[in-house]
Symmetry: C2
Subunit: 205 residues, 2 copies
DNA sequence: AGGATTATCTGACAGTGTCAAGATAAGACG
DNA sequence: CGTCTTATCTTGACACTGTCAGATAATCCT
């Protein structure tokens, strides 16, 4: 019956995705190969092509999941923060960085154009846009993602906030700030929070 | 004689590097393969290994050159700016982004840990540190790169400034801000300048 | 039961990085 | 001059990759 078929189909598909996630987290995106994924999922090296057009399609799916999780990180942080805008801004930035530090490989994947061209994967793109929307509305700005003018004064604080969180996350992730920022994840998160706070204070005027 | 030998040696080495740069700029880092480099340089597929231990060693050399050029971009921008700290900060950030937009592939290379582990290539690392030094001293902070404490209040503005420039550069480069930021390089640079300016005003108190 | 569709596998091809070993040539030294 | 060493570069091989094509098996529908 249809139910059984769907379950089985999802079964293989799911194990392919799980194997992909495991590989990505173990050895980085470079060691996520179609053949190794198939090996781990216990299927032939060609089976994944029945569910994903190519390697990039798998990456797009993982990236989409990543944006969903990033959204949850930020939404829950905003919910917990005091309703003052400055506090929310800081909480959101900290959540962004916490996500990046705790999910380094998927974060890289999400923000590298050559890994997966999101314009070719509308579902993943929607999830990405949802994150931007959250940032914008939290900062009290209405943004139409299809708008042609992203340089209006209204948008400057949004882009600036996003940029500082993203830049800090990236620099920490790639080790450009040295280990001196802290050994443990907690220490590094706290240090990032201090930088974000420094900026948030000045943004709030 | 020794001179001739050196010249010849540099000749092949140089053509290997030139082929690498050309490939990187044409098809991105993904299409920079040892074999294609060798093909372009007109040597056997194994010749490059005489000058570079492996693919990463070539990338490290290119990254080092990139840091040198980034330094020049920033130093010249600072020199042209009015001596006010806010102006210098803004000019430096704009130069950082201009470099990224005009040299996207080498910029990616420079800031991706898995591309080349700079700690294994001290010459390239020195050049990278020199850039950080320039940022710090321009903002009036003395930084010892080997210092253990990068979270002192003094350093917060340096990290924040670097982060916003780096984040904005990265997001633009990877197309996360959409094409709406401008079609031409000039438009995009100008838009970036506005964001950096927005931040610099508030940083300057 | 039989045809059609879906799911999966086996095999091949061109490409990769890089190890191993051979070839060539040039310089040093007696 | 002859030999020895070393730098330079080549050829060949191996294991790996992504993915196209075709064969095969399983399942569904009538």
């Amino acid at each position: 019956m249809a139910a059984t078929k769907t379950i089985l189909r999802d079964d293989v598909r799911t194990s392919i995705l799980e194997a992909s996630i495991a590989l990505m987290n173990e050895g980085g995106l470079g060691s996520l190969s179609m053949r190794e994924v198939a090996r781990r999922a216990g299927v032939s090296h060609q089976a994944p092509y029945h569910y994903f057009a190519d390697r990039e399609a798998i990456l797009a799916e993982l990236a989409g999941d990543g944006f969903d999780r990033l959204y949850d990180y930020m939404a829950s942080a905003i919910g917990l923060a005091r309703p003052k805008m400055g506090d929310k801004n800081r909480a959101m930035g900290e959540a962004y960085i916490r996500f990046a530090l705790n999910n380094p490989e998927v974060f890289r994947l999400m923000f590298r154009a050559e890994m997966c061209d999101l314009s070719r994967y509308p579902e993943a793109k929607l999830k990405a846009d949802k994150c931007l929307q959250l940032v914008a509305t939290t900062l009290g700005v209405n943004v139409d993602p299809s708008s042609k003018d992203k340089t209006s004064p209204d948008l400057a604080p949004v882009i600036a906030s996003w940029s500082i969180a993203h830049g800090l996350a990236t620099l920490m992730l790639e080790g450009k700030l040295g280990e001196a920022f802290g050994e443990t994840l907690d220490q590094r998160e706290a240090a990032a929070g201090r930088i974000i706070g420094f900026y948030s204070e000045r943004l709030a005027k």
